[in-house]
Symmetry: C2
Subunit: 346 residues, 2 copies
DNA sequence: GTGAAAGCGCTAACAG
DNA sequence: CTGTTAGCGCTTTCAC
């Protein structure tokens, strides 16, 4: 498995090593003749440039590192798609890592990229302390996505959490709900802001904000919902911190023999594909994930090209998607709706 | 952003560069005194070893590259979890890449790892031609997961596709189904084997195998199901090549005003978390994904440590999970079941 | 234990 | 266009 080097290629092609280097970086100042000679030789040998050597000599990696909090949450792959598209267009190599939902694992992932000296790092849904991010940002440009950060040195791309939460509460209140609970995202990225947005919106309506803890996972949604259903006075509507949590809550509710939205209305956040399926048809808040991914790359590139040195804090507008998990509360509504809905069965 | 080097650390600590190197690799032959001196200096400078230089000099990366076909299919994150756990335990760094469902993108991902000279590469759900994989395997040990490969040089970890497909067909036939269609996985990994298994099992029962094409995605499931529903004689049961496809088919069926399993039975493959939710409750075939991930790493390590030079072809046993999307065919069954099921609504 | 010296495979000026 | 010459930052003998 010992690999051929430039030297080998040069010898076989009968040229100098420097020429091979030029060809590998497709420099324009190489004659067609020598180019094909070199390429042929490389091909014959199965030569592949050694990235480590290349990076070491050129002091740049042309690589951006992407850290995703949780691969099981479709939100992250959606962002990754956007990042990938943009990176590809700008000739940057992409390397990914999952944070597997823990700060320790996330720190390790970031550390790996720092050691690699990737040109930039994009962290999606970071659970790291702001200080840790800022420290890392001292050695490499970092863009944080989906985690509001009030740093004046680290760029970020977010949706307006406050606005999103308010859209949800307003919708629910408009339907006539008063007892609304929020299953939050715990220590997850953006959870604090979403929670604060919920609390503020509730107060605006003169309602008592009711928050139970979750963790942005389906299992967390199940547990939190179980808690809510066990109460003497159940909420009539529940706003889950993300779609995954909402799906968990949905299953739990139905397991308990209750129906959504007839007995309880349910709202998620993110608008992942799952929420849009006929079967789930979840009312939720949309974040423009693909765009956020692309924007993260663009923001990073501005830093890399030095075209901007001030902080960029992009805040995109979320939008409410009303589907079938929200309805007016109370038995009256249930009766009224009974005739008009087609029931999937199962 | 210019980073400190070993030289800087050595100077600050008042020792030689070699000593710093030893400390960074926690060699036992360093006095406690100099060790702390070096560590302090490194800390103070924010020093981080340069991986490229390290790799270049040591000729090993202690890194394994993981290529996943499609992040949107929970099957892949599930495998990644297993890989991550095992890699962590063996002190290997993990770097991931998505193939974004296309061979070209997958090839690029693999190429990146080859250039990095990662110690090994695990490809999950490969869409590459067997030849391409074998070629790559000449420069680095590769383990292919979820893609049966009859190479005698590349290790692989799979579930028994033939067996899995047969479990499905047998179950359906036992329920009384005769017109069973298979929405296949197109050119996706393992699709051919799953399809062949379906065809063989159908023939064993003296039934006519009916195959329409899909692509392992939800959208593909919708399209294929639409085609099936448009026929004069609809199948009474559908076996989708994976859960994602099945979920698409499910939504499409219900959009058409039909009910699962009363009008059509549906079976998936993979047993991803989504299939197990109360709401979907899909009959499917389980693959031990976490175990497959761990096994892939173990298989790779055997190669890296030279404890095995022959090919390893692990084939794990799939198992059927009967849930709520399968039932006997026909209106009689429907009537009989009507009274006994609780209907989730929505 | 510690230091000196020789590369790892490549890029990047710089002459020719 | 082509060849020469220095390193990039680290590991790795090998003496001391």
């Amino acid at each position: 498995m010992s690999q051929p080097t430039m030297e080998d290629v040069a010898r076989l092609a009968g040229v100098s090593r420097a020429l091979v280097s030029l060809v590998m970086r497709d420099s324009p100042k190489v004659s067609n003749h020598s180019r094909t000679a070199v390429l042929d030789a490389a091909d014959q040998l199965g030569y592949r440039p050694n990235l480590a050597a290349r990076i070491l000599a050129s002091r740049k990696t042309s690589t951006i590192g992407l850290v995703l909090d949780d691969l099981h949450n479709p939100f992250f792959p959606d962002i990754a798609d956007g990042v990938n598209e943009a990176a590809e267009q700008s000739d940057y190599r992409l390397l990914m890592n999952s944070a597997f939902l823990t700060p320790a694992s996330e720190q390790r992932a970031v550390e790996t990229f720092l050691e690699f000296r990737t040109d930039g790092v994009i962290i999606v849904g970071s659970r790291l302390a702001a200080g840790a991010i800022e420290t890392a940002a001292e050695s490499v440009p970092i863009v944080v996505v989906g985690r509001p950060l009030r740093s004046d040195r680290v760029d970020s791309v977010n949706n307006n959490e406050t606005r999103g939460a308010r859209l949800v509460v307003d919708h629910l209140v408009e339907l006539g709900h008063g007892r609304i609970a929020h299953i939050d995202g715990g220590r997850g990225a953006g959870a604090a802001q979403r929670r604060a947005g919920f609390v503020a919106a509730m107060k605006r309506h003169g309602l008592r904000p009711d928050v139970v803890s979750g963790d942005f996972t389906e299992a967390g949604g199940v547990a939190a919902m179980r808690e809510l259903l066990a109460r003497r006075r159940r909420p009539t509507a529940v706003f889950a911190a993300n779609d995954l949590t909402a799906v968990g809550a949905l299953g739990c509710t139905e397991d308990a023999g209750l129906s959504v939205p007839d007995d309880i209305s349910l709202v998620g956040y993110d608008n992942v594909a799952l929420a849009a399926t006929h079967h789930i048809s979840m009312t939720t808040v949309d974040q423009p994930r693909n765009e956020m991914g692309r924007l993260a790359v663009a923001t990073l590139l501005e830093r890399l090209e030095g075209s901007r040195s001030s902080v960029a804090r992009h805040v995109l507008a979320p939008s409410l998607r009303i589907r079938s998990t929200t309805a007016p509360p109370g038995p009256a509504a249930r009766r009224k709706r009974a005739g008009t809905r087609n029931n999937p069965g199962r």
